[in-house]
Each structure stands twice: as structure tokens, then as C-alpha cells.
């Protein structure tokens, strides 16, 4: 039986708490530009990464374990490791993105794969082509993974049914953003050594947040206590039906939180304003110096970005000692390397789901 915590003899907890175990891996190639270590053998069957909701806790742990291995083996995601040479990754972004697109590109390149970039502006989509036809055209050029972002939930699922290659969801409207959820969890793991038992609050525009929808499944499956906090118009009472606590008063929950994940207000997805003014929102929900003094001393401040300074977070918090926002960016590459590699294994096994 596959043990979720032990992947081929190494474990997350052991690695995070004492960095002794992985010294061997990193020091094996201290100065070479490319690393040649092989990743640990893992059990993995999926061809697509569409959402965290349908992943098991074991699968999430496998992804996190491998992400950590990738990060260590590439010296903090900076060195190349030719695990996927000869394969091609297509970025199909039908919605604007800088960090996620570049992160996926870098992850593919770090592993030696080629990348193809596609964005909807000035493309065949502007000429009336459906996104499925666009994706099929790109696939016919011979790609192994399609990384897709679209404003409508479920579009990666649609592509997974229509395409023969692996599909990675890089954000489908407000639905999910699985690699964001994973990189947030990886960041927590690195700083805390575990997720089980922690209290994590997702604060802000829960209604329109794919980061929230991926985080809450992943965190719940790994045993965290999850609070979604924000104005009542953006935080449905129904979230409690899914094993998540609902709060509207940040100051009331703050002393209990080990981690705060501050989500941007997605004005572009709102037809009518969900609260009276940004001013009122910031007074009630912005993480600022005053609130930091109420919070636990070791609280982790995270944000998926882009951050709006002065709305959900003030500069002294964003740039302060408890902020791990830039660690999240680095971890994004690690998580995406792990995802690309795992899905390639799933595709090779030929029984991908």
C-alpha cells in the first residue's frame, strides 16, 4: 500500500524539519549548471491536473513531496534538470496572466522541455474560432501538455475530454487554480513543517476566487482548519456545508490564525459592487500594522498576487518579516515542475484519467 507520507523512502516532515536528508541530493551537483538526479519513483495515474477537489490526500501529498524534491534538486528552482527533454508544453491563456504563465514556462524549461506560447489577443480566437478548435490546432503541432487559463469554469475539463494530451488548469474563472493551491500549501509546509492542525484563513473575495476554491479543498484534505472571511456579499453561508468556517469579522478570528491568505478583490468579475466602497472594505479587511500586533507573532502572511497595496494589504505587512509572498512565487515553479513531471508519468502509463 502506498504510504502518503513516505514517497520512496523520503518524507516531507523529515525533510522540512531537518534538512540533513536532502543534502546528498543537492551536494551531488553543487556547481554543475544541470542536475542529473532522478526523481523518486511515485505512484501516479492521472494525465490531467484540473482541480484539487477530486484529488485524494495521498495524491496531494505526492505532489507536495515531489515539489519539494524538485526545489531542492534544482537549487531553489534555479538550475536545469533535463527530465523532460524532447517534450513540449503549450501555454494557452485566454485570460491575461504574467506570473502564472511565466512560472509554467520556466518550470517547463527547467526540466528541459520546449514551450509554445499562445494568447487570445490578436489570435484566431479574435477571428471567431472557438477555444476548443484553437486548442486542437495547437495540440496538432505536437504538444505533450496544454496549460490553460480561461474566464469560464470547466473549460479545462472540456479540453481534457477533447484533447489527447495532458491538460493543466492554470485557472478557470472562479472555479479552481490547482497549482496555486499547491504552492500555497508548499509554502506553509516549508515554514511550519505541517499543515494538519493549522488554522488558515482565506480573506477577501471568496465568491470570485479560484485560489480560495483550490486552497480550501487541499487544506481540508490535509487536515487544516479553514476559515473563509470577508463581506457577507462575497462569503456565502453555504460554505459551512463544505466543512469550512465562515467569518465576516477579521479582527475576531485574527488571534486564532496561523496563516492568512489575502485574496484580491476581483472587480473585473463583478457586475455590481459587493460593498459600498474600497475605503470601507480596507478598514474592515486590510491586513495592516495595527492588526499585525493583534495577530500571533509567528503568523504567515500570504497573497496569491497581484496584490493591491492599501486594499487587502498595506506595505508594512506585505514587505514585513512575516510575509512569505515571494516564497510563494518561487514555490510556484517547483509545484509546476512536479505537476508537469507527474502528468508525463501518468501519460506514459497509458491509463491516465
Amino acid at each position: 500500500m502506498f504510504d502518503p507520507f513516505i514517497v520512496s523512502g523520503f518524507s516531507i516532515l523529515a525533510q522540512v524539519r531537518t534538512s540533513v536528508n536532502n543534502d546528498a541530493i543537492v551536494s551531488a551537483t553543487p556547481s554543475s549548471p544541470a542536475v542529473t538526479a532522478a526523481p523518486p519513483a511515485v505512484a501516479w495515474e492521472r494525465r490531467h491536473l484540473l482541480e484539487l477537489e477530486s484529488l485524494s490526500a495521498e495524491e496531494i501529498r505526492t505532489l507536495l513531496d515531489l515539489s519539494l524534491w524538485m526545489k531542492r534538486a534544482t537549487d531553489g528552482c534555479r538550475k536545469k534538470m533535463p527530465l523532460l527533454v524532447g517534450k513540449t508544453c503549450a501555454n494557452l491563456f485566454f485570460e491575461n496572466s504574467t506570473r502564472t504563465r511565466n512560472s509554467f514556462s520556466l518550470a517547463a524549461k527547467r526540466l528541459g522541455a520546449d514551450t509554445v506560447e499562445f494568447s487570445s489577443s490578436g489570435s484566431s480566437v479574435a477571428k471567431g474560432e472557438t477555444f476548443v478548435d484553437t486548442a486542437k490546432t495547437i495540440e496538432a503541432m505536437g504538444v505533450d501538455w496544454v496549460v490553460t487559463r480561461h474566464r469560464t469554469p470547466g473549460t479545462p475539463h472540456l479540453l481534457a475530454r477533447e484533447l489527447g494530451c495532458s491538460v493543466l488548469n492554470a485557472g478557470d474563472g472562479p472555479h479552481e487554480h490547482p497549482t496555486q493551491g499547491l504552492l500555497d500549501m508548499l509554502t506553509i509546509l516549508e515554514h511550519r513543517g505541517q499543515i494538519e492542525g493549522l488554522t488558515v484563513a482565506l480573506v477577501g473575495d471568496i465568491e470570485h476566487s479560484r485560489t480560495a476554491r483550490s486552497n480550501l479543498w487541499g487544506l481540508r484534505k490535509l487536515g487544516a482548519r479553514v476559515i473563509v472571511c470577508g463581506p457577507a456579499t462575497l462569503v456565502s453561508r453555504r460554505w459551512t456545508e463544505l466543512g469550512v468556517e465562515v467569518a465576516h469579522d477579521l479582527d475576531a478570528i485574527l488571534p486564532e490564525c496561523d496563516v492568512l491568505n489575502l485574496l484580491r478583490i476581483q472587480f473585473e468579475r463583478q457586475s455590481t459592487p459587493p460593498f459600498p466602497s474600497i475605503h470601507e472594505y480596507a478598514l474592515r479587511y486590510a491586513m495592516n500594522g495595527r492588526r499585525m500586533r493583534v495577530a500571533r507573532k509567528d503568523i504567515l502572511i500570504m497573497a496569491p498576487g497581484p496584490i493591491n497595496r492599501g486594499v487587502e494589504i498595506t506595505p508594512e505587512v506585505a514587505d514585513g518579516p512575516q510575509s512569505v509572498i515571494l516564497d510563494q512565487v518561487t514555490n510556484g515553479i517547483a509545484v509546476r515542475m512536479a505537476a508537469l513531471w507527474l502528468l508525463a508519468q501518468g501519460a506514459e502509463q497509458g491509463r491516465g484519467r
Partner: protein, 449 residues
């Protein structure tokens, strides 16, 4: 004299409370007799062996979108009426959402002429309530009525302007024509693609809240009561709508309501959970709701709060339904499946009997529309559907007569199939797959209901 004798079937006619094995004689397109004596049969006689089958007045659909003129990529009158008779419908009301919409006598005439040329089901025309379906200014309801429009509706758009609805209900009393409202409050359901609930929350899809329907029904029935106008609301799909209708009906307010079989399909698994496939085939209207709404709706079919079932046929071209859930329009091809869904979900499960089913799908909608149909009394039109009640079949959209192939039921097994559809004494549809059934012995084992 040309005669048609349908023999050996189980005759179900709610207008005469008949449910027994009987022969039905149609002479010159009109019902001439039930169980006619042999000496009264005309010389030129065609016989249909209906043993083991239900023989009922042809079905009546309160709103069929035929899409012609202007939206022929979705459906044409010719394909729509062919689908109607294949689904057992002998009379359909053509919805006004063509392009241009049916807001002038000329468009009414165009639809009537094309339907006559197609020569399948009888086609009655619904005129717009508002000019250009703009929801603001009243269309020429008197002229439309004279041109043959039998009812008025902006459906599938609701009538959000209460002043317009109130005026139209008042005005229509002069012509004794009903107004059909598909209840909704647009500002509450703006951008919604599915039932708002736990599933839409998890999937991040915009929701259609039930309150949008509840509030409109509450307003509609109050305006009907205040004006004394003829109002029909439907299709409805929520507990709140049913609750409101029960209350006003118990007070004796003359309002009628309808629902669609796809909103009753609990056993077939058509609920908001179906949207987890993110497949636009499940983006239908009214939306697939959650279990408790469906259960309430099923009960209301039994107790008569819902007077009629309608097909919900909203054909949309394949290329439109292939898109993502936000871009794809609401719609489905349901003329050829609605009867079987109703049989499978309601009759086969023992929830209602055949008399009630035929009342909801034929007699009641004919009364609501005020058209001569839904009855097999002597002198009534010879419009008949012959149904093989036990036949199990698999929905294959590529075999649809409708131009639209999008259905949430593709590949699903249903019970009950239309064998023959007769309009004015002429056979307009015969199921090629059922020929073997005609030779089966009289002693067909009784089905489980």
C-alpha cells in the same frame, strides 16, 4: 367517406374520463365513434392494430421554439413540426422568439403558411406581448389576435415590467386570449448559467437564484387576480413558485401553470449535480435544480398545482452548444423525449396514472391555449397518439427529426415510445422501430404500473 379504425388499444381520454380498451373510429378527419358497431364502418377503411398500446388525444405543447424566420441554424418550421409528431404532439404553439419576433400580423401569417405547407402537426402562433420583445411597449395585440395568434408571450424572456404586464392582462380581456409569462427577475439572475446552490458555489459558476422565479410568480398571480385577465405562468421550477401557486389557487384565482419534464427527472439524475460535467448540454432552461425543488415539483404534478407539462423545446445550433458554459446559450432539443421522460419519471414510478399524464400533456394545455384539441369526443379533431408504454429505448440524438441534437439525455434509456401520430385522421408519424410490436399477441403482459 374515408375512415380510420384504431383497434384493440387502451383508450385514455381525460375529457370523457375514459380509460379502457376500446376502438376509435375517425371519419373524414373527425372522431366519429368509440367502439363503433361493425355496420357503421365506412367502406374505405384503414385499420390500425393498437393492441398493447395507449391510444390518447394527441399531445399539445404550450411553447415550441421553431426559430424560423431568422434563426434557421437552430430549427426550421419543417424540422420542428416533424420532431413534434415524432414526439407525439399533434398541436404546438409556436413561440414568438423568431427574428424578427412574431409581433406583427405578417409574421403570424408567415409561420402559419409555412406550417401548413409542412403539413405535420397543427401549429398555432404565440404573439409577442411587447413590440420587438423589448419588454416596454405593448405589441398590437388586437391585430395579432385577428391574424390568428392564440396567446401572447415574450418567452423565453420574462416580463419584468409590471406596468406592461398589468396593462396587457387588462387589454387581453377584450380578446379572451391568455398571456404566458416565463417568470423571472432579470436583475437577480443576470449572467447565471445554472441553479444557484451548493453545486454552483463549488464550481464557481454564476447562479440562477430561485428567488428570481419566486418573486415573479408572486407578482404575476397578484396581477392576474387584480385584473381578472387570463394568465398562465410557466415553465416554473422552484418550491417557492409552487408554494405561491398553491396558495392563490386555493383562493380560487384563475391562474394556470406548467412545468417541463426535464425539471422532474430525479430518477434519470438530471439535477444541478449534472453541471459537474461542465457540459453545455446540461445548460437548459428552466435550469436543472436541486433535489428538494424537483421533489416539490413532482408532487405538484400529482396534486394539480401544475396544470400542464410542456416540452421545453429550445433548439440551438450545435456550434452554439459546443462552446464553454458562459458563452453557450440555454437550450435543448426535447420534443422527441419529453413524453418518454414524463412516462419514465411519473407513470412508470407509479406517481400518476395514464389519465393524469394525458390530462397534463394534452387536455389541459389545449384548454389553457383555448384551442380545439386534447379530446376524443365525437366531433373532435381526429388527432391521436398511439404509445407503446413498455417499450424501452435509448435516446440517440443523431436520429432526431429536430435540427437540434443537443440534449442532456443522449445515451439515456427511457420507457414509452410514440408508435403512431395521427393528425386529422392522417398518419403523420410511424415509428419504424416499432413495426414488430404491431404483430405481438394481444396478451401483452401488463406493465408494472
Amino acid at each position: 367517406m374515408k375512415g380510420l379504425l384504431i383497434e384493440g388499444g387502451r383508450l385514455v381520454d381525460p375529457s370523457q374520463s375514459i380509460d379502457r380498451t376500446a376502438g376509435l373510429l375517425i371519419v373524414d378527419g373527425v372522431v366519429a365513434a368509440i367502439d363503433p358497431p361493425a355496420e357503421s364502418l365506412p367502406g374505405d377503411l384503414q385499420r390500425i392494430d393498437a393492441r398493447g398500446c395507449i391510444v390518447a388525444p394527441g399531445l399539445v405543447d404550450l411553447a415550441t421554439e421553431l426559430r424560423e424566420p431568422g434563426r434557421e441554424e437552430d430549427e426550421m418550421i419543417e424540422t420542428g413540426v416533424a420532431a413534434a409528431v415524432a414526439g407525439g404532439y399533434t398541436s404546438i404553439l409556436c413561440a414568438a422568439n423568431t427574428d424578427p419576433p412574431i409581433d406583427s400580423p405578417g409574421t403570424v401569417e408567415l409561420v402559419r403558411q409555412k406550417a401548413a405547407a409542412a403539413n405535420r402537426a397543427r401549429v398555432y402562433v404565440i404573439g409577442c406581448v411587447s413590440k420587438g420583445r423589448n419588454g416596454e411597449t405593448m405589441a398590437e395585440l388586437g391585430l395579432l389576435s385577428e391574424a390568428g395568434a392564440v396567446a401572447f408571450s415574450d418567452s423565453p424572456r420574462p416580463l419584468p415590467n409590471s406596468a406592461l404586464l398589468r396593462r396587457a392582462l387588462d387589454y387581453c380581456r377584450m380578446f379572451n386570449r391568455p398571456i404566458f409569462d416565463r417568470p423571472g427577475v432579470p436583475e437577480l439572475s443576470h449572467g447565471g448559467v445554472m441553479h444557484e446552490g451548493r453545486v454552483s458555489l463549488v464550481l464557481g459558476l454564476s447562479g440562477l437564484p430561485t428567488e428570481a422565479e419566486d418573486l415573479a410568480v408572486a407578482r404575476d398571480v397578484r396581477l392576474a387576480e387584480a385584473t381578472g385577465g387570463r394568465l398562465h405562468v410557466g415553465p416554473v421550477s422552484t418550491m417557492g413558485a409552487i408554494d405561491m401557486l398553491r396558495r392563490v389557487k386555493s383562493r380560487g384565482v384563475a391562474v394556470t401553470a406548467s412545468a417541463c419534464p426535464h425539471n422532474l427527472a430525479l430518477h434519470l439524475g438530471l439535477t444541478d449535480e449534472s453541471l459537474r460535467w461542465f457540459d453545455a448540454r446540461y445548460k437548459v432552461h428552466p435550469p436543472l435544480r436541486s433535489q428538494r425543488h424537483i421533489e416539490t415539483l413532482r408532487d405538484s404534478i400529482v396534486d394539480g398545482t401544475i396544470d400542464a407539462l410542456q416540452s421545453g423545446h429550445m433548439p440551438r445550433a450545435d456550434e452554439k452548444k459546443m462552446d464553454d458554459l458562459d458563452s453557450s446559450p440555454f437550450g435543448q432539443s426535447s420534443l422527441e423525449t419529453s413524453l418518454a421522460v414524463a412516462i419514465t419519471e411519473l407513470v412508470h414510478t407509479g406517481l400518476i396514472d395514464w389519465l393524469t399524464l394525458v390530462r397534463r400533456m394534452s387536455t389541459a394545455p389545449a384548454e389553457i391555449a383555448g384551442i380545439p384539441a386534447g379530446s376524443l369526443k365525437n366531433g373532435a379533431a381526429g388527432d391521436v397518439v398511439i404509445i407503446d408504454p413498455a417499450k424501452r429505448w435509448t435516446v440517440d440524438p443523431t436520429l432526431f427529426a429536430s435540427h437540434c441534437r443537443s440534449t442532456p439525455l443522449a445515451g439515456v434509456d427511457l420507457y414509452g415510445k410514440v408508435r403512431t401520430t395521427i393528425v386529422g385522421g392522417d398518419v403523420k408519424f410511424e415509428d419504424s422501430l416499432s413495426e414488430a410490436v404491431a404483430h405481438s399477441p394481444l396478451e401483452t403482459p401488463a406493465p408494472c404500473w
